[in-house]
């Protein structure tokens, strides 16, 4: 599969939009057509945040993903809201530290990763989103690992450039679990 319709959802502050930007930039590095669309609303912090990312070999129609083939969720309300929207054959990535999954669907693959707990144990607080992305990368191969690294370099502001390495460690951690 070379086209991906990805939906990432969680609380504001979990790095949902950042993860989406990294994935979109990874696609861009590989010369794909990409789009990134955030939810926007009156809640600035702590409210729900989600974003749609499309990676495609062709021009992208809707940048709004309502039926994802990759779903990444980091809170219970988002899990409940979107789990039934995933297309058959789709892959779902769940931060199991934060979500009690009890999905009865058998037509999708569900990966439960205690990303928040892992981040805490590894002294990588705030990088649960990146650990999850590492797992997405391993299971879907949406881009080459080098492309993801290049994307992280692009997305991390100059002020935080020293954080690129720890981000890549988080990716590896996710890929190895």
């Amino acid at each position: 599969m070379t086209n991906y319709n990805i939906l990432l959802a969680g609380f504001g502050g979990q790095g949902i939009l950042f993860s989406g930007k990294v994935m979109a930039n990874a696609g861009l590095v590989e010369g794909k057509e990409v789009s990134w669309l955030p939810s926007y609303g009156p809640e600035m912090r702590g409210g729900t945040a989600n974003c749609s990312v499309c990676l495609s070999e062709r021009a992208i129609g809707s940048p709004l993903v309502t039926t994802p083939d990759i779903l990444v969720v980091m809170n219970q309300p988002s899990y409940e809201k979107y789990i039934d929207a995933v297309v058959p054959g789709g892959k779902v990535f769940i931060d199991s530290t934060l979500i009690q999954a009890n999905c009865e669907r058998t037509d999708i693959d569900i990966y439960e990763i205690p990303a928040t707990q892992m981040a805490k144990q590894q002294d990588m607080s705030g990088l649960a989103n990146i650990i999850l992305m590492g797992k997405v990368l391993k299971e879907t191969g949406f881009a080459a690992t080098e492309s993801v690294e290049a994307a992280i370099r692009k997305c991390v502001s100059a002020r935080k450039a020293h954080l690129v390495d720890v981000n890549m460690q988080a990716i590896q951690l996710g890929m190895n679990c």
Partner: protein, 358 residues
Amino acid sequence: MTEKQAERVLMKGNEAMAEAAIQAGCRHFFGYPITPSTEIAAYMSKRMPKVGGTYLQAESEVAAINMVLGAAAAGVRVMTGSSSPGISLKSEGVSYLAGCDLPCVIINVQRGGPGLGGIQPSQADYWQATKAWGHGDFQILVYAPSTVQEMVNLMMEAFDKADEYRIPALMLVDGLLGQMMEPIAFPEKDLSTIPAKPWATNGHKHKREHNIVNSLCLKPDELEQQVIARFARYDIIKAKEAQAEEYLVDDADIVLVAFGATARTTRSAIDMAREKDIKAGMIRPITLWPFPEKVIQKAANTAQCFLSVEMSMGQMIDDIKLAINCTKPVHFYGRTGGMVPMPVDILGKIEELARGLK
């Protein structure tokens, strides 16, 4: 304009339009924050001081558009940006800008209405943009890009055409296009073609008679002649500036008409229909005023019916019917209030129409 061989960068629609304006020589921005257009003002506030320009956050949308009027009269490239409720507030100034024959560029990042409405994407300001944005007989140029790259290209074109015809130009986009990021490259912009503005009120320096920028004319016969002259200019614009993209129209039984973000989901729906051997195609108006009537008329010779797809209760559909003089049925599919018509839903409507054709 030739595309630079520069690396493509990911940029939000709102920010890409703002940067395109700067690269088109715009150094004056007057605005007021409103979701989902605020990134335009935020970007300008960061960039303008670095390029020697002016960013000014006005006390109101009304003040902002009148600051645009002042700067346009002074002869500089100037713009403002807002979203639907703010755009309504600007209507007074837009009428005056049109009546004073002043060039400027305005962005409307549409959201659901009426009233305060919502903040999700909408195309329900079509009538306002193309028919009645303010009092009096007048039109403005209306551009409707559907990708972030096209937002960049048309933004630059809007400044050129506004100057060429001394007319306000509107970029009619929506929350989806404004908020999304796509890869773009900025074309090389030739600024040597910006026309001289001998009519500008920039101080006569005792080298010419005093210039007056004015929309007042108390003699009805003279005002009539002024308006008629302006409409003669509109006729030239109609003949030369209408733009549309055609997608699989030649053999299409069902021709969908959609603009902006809606054209994106419509294109996906057409691809899905073609896989089911339904001959569907699309006309995508790139300018909404002037409306690309000729392209629609030509399609009426071969199409069996039209389907207008909009994020509204159906506004552009009127212009399609007028363009073809109702010679073919024109159907409608739309969502409103911030809901986006998705490909599968549009496909459903196409299939329904296709069954009717057999």
